[in-house]
């Protein structure tokens, strides 16, 4: 879609709400969905005379993330005030980090379309979220607006990539990989609809081979992976067309409008804020000693890339299956727990990927963790296939019933009488009836049409409502069919 002579340059700024119980600079709860302004205090309301106090666990989650992204942690880092007036911000400045952020110079390995890429991480810093405005009607014409400060002061982590992304697909891939890491680390719930994870992009085009960057445009309001990719694809087209027609790109901020599938100019650089950053005098510099960092490093979980490789190597899974199974920490945990109970990894992987993911999104840790079929029960089901109690076909029905009811496989099989018919006397009678009822097919078989066997097996299965042991049916048919 881009004219071949242009190269796309994208950098992403991702804001992740940290999963702390209390806010960044006060003790108020961060729980989502409470009554407006019920989770506020003088500090997060920006009353006169209040002072911030750093939430230690937010810093730890930030360090955890920075380490997972291979960043250098700044031993001496500090907070700064970023000023702009808006009613959702109680102090009319946001406590953020500017010079001396928490961490810098990391890298995130991604793979898009089979090509591995290392995307640089410029910085990871901490800041506080703003409140939420509720307008009576549309913003431009609202007669009044109310503000809810429950979200004001919730800890945010901003992760800024280097301008290393070269396509909208890569940008979406980077965001997916980053989200997976955040979920693995347990630092953010990754919910883009609720706004726990937000993404802005800087995008520019330049002639292929050029060293200089083109004029960049910032795109906001992309609250899903799809939106990120679509918005950037649209913006690539828009800028390419403009450049082809000899226009200049204006440095500006544009909003993605998913309804109309286009970006709309929000403000140009002439109106850009001067944030008047300066070091936050109410907070002494935050010292992050090597001891603290190492203790956090020691507690890091296995990360998606490492787990993917281990799954392929240790369980003999294809790269594709290993990738799918490690998309979410809960899914990977589920798989490993089931394999411990039933050490046939390929079977477990097939069932997890084909059946479980029919019901659940792979990357929704909360849903996977709350799955009505615990790993032990999946293992129990697979054991019943292996020992011949039920067929694989019946097992799929049983799986669905297990998912609906939360019961284990033996209970369902017993209640519904689904045990495989492996009694050769009973099956023998049924086979005889089937042969007697289908003389033409039997004749086909005799004249060499081997496919006729499949039909006869099917008829036996039908007569037993699928409960016949397939091996036994095949053996009996082999014995009873006339040779020749």
């Amino acid at each position: 879609m881009t004219s071949p002579a242009l190269e796309t340059i994208i950098g992403l700024e991702v804001h992740a709400q940290l999963s702390t119980r209390s806010k960044m600079f006060c003790g108020c709860s961060t729980a989502f969905g409470a009554a407006p302004n019920s989770q506020t205090c003088p500090v997060c309301q920006g009353m006169p005379g209040v002072l911030p106090v750093i939430n230690r666990s937010a810093v730890e989650l930030g360090i955890r993330t920075a380490l997972a992204l291979g960043c250098r942690i700044n031993e001496h880092n500090r907070f700064a005030r970023k000023h702009y007036y808006y009613p959702d911000m109680p102090k009319n400045y946001q406590i953020s980090q500017y010079e001396e952020p928490l961490a810098e110079h990391g890298v995130l390995a991604i793979e898009v379309g089979g090509t591995p890429r290392a995307i640089g991480i410029q910085r990871v810093h901490l800041e506080e979220d703003v409140g939420k405005l509720v307008h009576e009607g549309a913003l431009e014409t609202a007669r009044s607006s109310t503000v809810d400060f429950n979200r004001a002061g919730v800890p945010l982590m901003e992760i800024v990539s280097k301008p290393d992304l070269r396509s909208p697909e890569e940008a979406a891939g980077y965001l997916r990989a980053l989200r997976t890491i955040l979920l693995y680390l347990g630092v953010c719930d990754g919910n883009m609809e609720e706004g726990s994870l937000r993404c802005d992009a800087n995008i520019s085009l330049r002639p292929a081979g050029s060293e200089e960057y083109g004029v960049k445009v910032e795109i906001k309001n992309m609250n899903s992976f799809r939106n990120v990719q679509h918005a950037l694809e649209h913006e690539v087209r828009r800028q390419a067309r403009a450049l082809d027609e000899g226009e200049r790109i204006v440095q500006e901020t544009r909003l993605w409008d998913p309804e109309r599938a286009r970006t709309v100019s929000m403000r140009s650089k002439e109106y850009a804020h001067d944030y008047r950053y300066f070091p936050e005098p109410d907070l002494p510099p935050l010292q992050v000693g090597a001891g603290w960092v190492e203790a956090i490093r020691a507690g890091l979980p296995e990360l998606p890339a490492a787990r993917r490789q281990r799954f392929a190597a240790a369980y003999g899974l294809s790269a594709y299956d290993a990738d799918l199974l490690t998309q979410g920490r809960a899914l990977a945990d589920y798989f490993e727990a089931a394999v411990r109970e039933h050490p046939r990894p390929k079977a477990v992987a097939n069932w997890a990927l084909n059946e479980l993911l029919r019901e659940l999104p792979a990357d929704d840790d909360r849903a996977v963790a709350a799955c009505p079929i615990p790993p032990r029960n999946l293992a129990g089901l697979l054991r019943l296939i292996d020992d011949g109690t039920i067929s694989g076909k019946i097992a799929k029905d049983v799986f669905e019933k297990m998912y609906r009811t939360g019961q284990d496989a033996p209970s369902i099989i017993e209640r519904e009488g689904l045990t495989q018919v492996a009694d050769s006397g009973e099956l023998s009678r049924i086979v005889d009836q089937v042969l007697a009822a289908n003389p033409k097919v039997v004749e086909d078989w005799r004249s060499g049409k081997k496919a006729a066997l499949g039909f006869l097996v099917g008829q036996v299965m039908k007569a037993t409502q699928g409960r016949a042991n397939p091996g036994l049916v095949n053996r009996l048919l082999g014995e009873k069919l006339p040779t020749g």
């Binding site: 006169p48 005379g49 950053y277």
Partner: protein, 485 residues
């Protein structure tokens, strides 16, 4: 007269049952009623609160269980300190109706010690000024001469302490706002080390410079109040966990052998000769008590004032951004949209001096100017701090004038720069975060008080207070009372 007694004397009477906290509160309220119409130290008198607290203190003394040396003692605080349920105006129209839902840490500590709150004291708007003429409501008068200013910004706190309108008061000092009015009003005013007293609930002017401290009739009383309000606070990350000594006990011991430095740069051109003479005489008194005095140099002193007038307004421009009409305080009517509402509210709510400093500060922080102004001022600050560090390698305290002159007439200083020069001898101490005290050190021929400033090492209030106490014991300046009934 109970209102003449020091905290120590008042406490002794309470313990002996010769007076009750209710009697003391009533005496102060009566005196406020009689005199404050002329002095105008109070913005709000909290009569009911005071009488209620005093009655509770009565019961504790009756049971023989006072909470602290401040139990039952009538005090008042600068109206920049948040008081739960009691209007806190900061001397500004923009907060004229603001009632905080919480107590400043120092207010909570005073309450917990049993002190009785008489009310809230006048100040220059948001503590920006040196005369209390910048109060949005009315100027406070100097008790020694009602046509003169009490100094500022804690002018109400100084005047109330000097005129016996409270047994002790709290103020705040960003560039001299405790020491300068203490000198002008002939009372004791102590600015503790930055980090010694929690700033939680002190409405911020310049966060890296502001510090709360007491005004009192004597050094010993100031030591008692400091003991109650000092110490780390989980709500203020800049209030450092350094052990708080028993300041009262540390007063004894005198100044025998104490090394007192006299900084040459503080005896500037333009220093009032009467002030200079009084301070030299005070140094001689200290020498007579056994102190070893020597000249020292603080070479970057002259850069302190300009650095301060970049740093303090810069921080103020940020701290005052929250007063926008959205959440509390004034909202000016008539704005057709958000930006207009902001503009009208801030135009109507802030006085000229506050606006001047917000503009200065916003400019100093703006893109392209930060390094030249704010950044450079911070480097100057480091040099000023280093000057003091080097001096304190040789001496234990520094002695200097608190102010270049004495109390001036209301309306006399109309040029902001002339006003700013009042703080030239106090500002470096704030830039370095050091403790400093002003004690009465004489009077001019015209009968106006002169202050001696003593400056100490970080967190060494004890030595500063010991020297001040020794000086006070050897002189009688603190016993003089202003010409009021």
């Amino acid at each position: 007269m109970l209102t003449r007694l020091t905290i120590e004397e008042l406490g002794a009477r309470f313990r002996r049952g010769e007076a009750t906290p209710s009697q003391a509160a009533a005496a102060y309220l009566e005196r406020i009623g009689a005199l404050d119409g002329r002095v105008k130290a109070y913005l709000t008198v909290t009569r009911e609160t005071a009488l209620g607290q005093a009655a509770e203190a009565d019961a504790r003394f009756a049971a023989g269980r006072p909470l602290s040396p401040l139990d039952g003692v009538p005090v008042a605080v600068k109206d920049l300190l948040c008081t739960r349920g009691i209007r806190t105006t900061c001397g500004s129209r923009i907060l004229e109706t603001f009632v905080p839902p919480y107590d400043a840490t120092v207010v909570a500590r005073l309450r917990a010690a049993g002190a009785v709150l008489l009310g809230k004291l006048n100040l220059d708007e948001f503590a920006m000024g040196s005369s209390t003429e910048h109060s949005a409501f009315f100027p406070t008068r100097n008790p020694w001469d009602l046509d003169r200013v009490p100094g500022g910004s804690s002018g109400g706190s100084a005047a109330a302490a000097a005129a016996d309108l409270a047994a002790a008061t709290l103020g705040s000092d960003t560039g001299g706002s405790i020491r300068q009015p203490a000198a002008f009003c002939g009372t004791v005013g102590l600015k503790p080390t930055y980090g010694r007293v929690s700033r939680y609930g002190l409405v911020a002017f310049a966060s890296s410079l502001d510090q709360i401290g007491p005004f009192a009739k004597t050094v010993a009383d100031a030591a008692l109040v400091l003991g109650v309000i000092a110490g780390a606070d989980p709500r203020d990350s800049t209030a450092v966990d350094v052990a708080v000594p028993d300041y009262r006990a540390a007063l004894s011991g005198g100044v025998e052998g104490l090394r007192v430095g006299i900084p040459a740069e503080y005896f500037i051109e333009g220093l009032d000769p009467e002030v200079e003479a009084a301070v030299q005489a005070a140094v001689a008194v200290l020498r007579g008590l056994g102190a070893r005095t020597e000249g020292v140099s603080l070479p970057h002193t002259r850069y302190g004032l300009p650095a301060y007038y970049l740093i303090a307004p810069a921080e103020a421009s940020s701290n005052l951004a929250r007063y926008d009409g959205v959440k509390y305080g004034l909202r000016a009517p008539g704005g057709r949209h958000l930006v207009e509402m902001y503009g009208r509210t801030r135009a109507a709510g802030f006085g000229a001096e506050v606006k001047r400093r917000i503009m200065l500060g916003a400019y100093a922080l703006s893109a392209g100017y930060y390094d030249a102004y704010y950044g450079k001022a911070q480097r100057v600050r480091t040099l000023v701090r280093r000057d003091f560090q080097q001096a304190f390698e040789r001496v234990d305290v520094l002695a200097a004038p608190t102010t270049p002159g004495v109390a001036f007439r209301l309306g006399e200083k109309t040029d902001p720069l002339q006003m700013y020069l009042n703080d030239i001898l106090t500002i470096p101490v704030n830039l370095a975060g050091l403790p400093g005290v002003s004690v009465p050190a004489g009077f001019t021929q015209a009968g106006l008080p002169i202050g001696l400033q003593l400056i100490g090492r970080p967190y060494d209030e004890a030595t500063v207070l010991r020297a001040a106490h020794a000086y006070e014991r050897a002189t009688t300046w603190h016993q003089r009372k202003p010409p009021l009934p």
